[in-house]
Subunit: 109 residues, 2 copies
DNA sequence: CCTTACGGTAAGTCATCCCTTACGGATACG
DNA sequence: CGTATCCGTAAGGGATGACTTACCGTAAGG
């Protein structure tokens, strides 16, 4: 049962991470996205398909343009997956680990 | 440069994730680890090297055996990375992130 | 010593990608 | 209606990566 399977595979590629991070900052159309990247526009389309399959992005057409935006659903799956690993990995190393890391939490565990 | 670059690449492979998750549950030697997996022992050694490079595992020798364990340091890097993306994807560009985590210092002139 | 168990490394093969160019469908505008 | 722009998909090639077998160094035990 690996819920974060697709997300990890999608974000493993540097170009796809760059695309995703740009969409996190601001929704953009495909062409605009490709203009700021060192790869061709079809390559961007293929990466967007992979990100969409991983539920990391969503899109809606606006006239001729296809505007993509980041989808929190995919990030949530990854965060949940890592949180489970995190709590288990602590074990006897809890003290040392918590001394070096603090995560921004909005609610109480 | 991306801080969670190595971790994402390491966990993208299913076999490596399986190895890592087993080490999260319990520290194990290489041979014991390989016996429960559908790949050869050298393959496991290579995967462990990748996980070690990503700071996701640590190891210490015990006689002839080399016992590996999960290292929270790598998971922490991933969690930090995702938390930043998460807050931005939700539109929370308020100072929520900067107060709790490493302050993303705006470049001062 | 000599043998056995454990594990890291080397070399080679095979699949899986990532990217490219080329093409086709859809929409806005004259 | 004709044209230009935007975008997804197909096909092919080159690179990266995961796995195998073979080999070597090291530690325990007789």
């Amino acid at each position: 049962m690996h819920p974060a399977d697709a997300q990890l595979a999608a974000l493993a590629d540097p170009t796809r991470r760059a695309i995703f991070e740009r969409l996190v900052k601001k929704p953009m159309a495909v062409g605009e996205l490709a203009r700021g990247l060192p790869v061709s526009r079809p390559a961007v389309s293929q990466h967007l398909a992979a990100l969409k399959a991983a539920r990391l992005v969503a899109h809606e057409r606006s006239g001729r343009q296809n505007v993509y935006r980041a989808n929190p659903e995919g990030i949530a799956a990854l965060r949940n997956y890592l949180d489970i690993l995190w709590t288990r990995a602590l074990g006897d190393l809890k003290a040392a680990a918590e001394a070096t890391y603090h995560r921004p939490r909005k609610d109480k565990p």
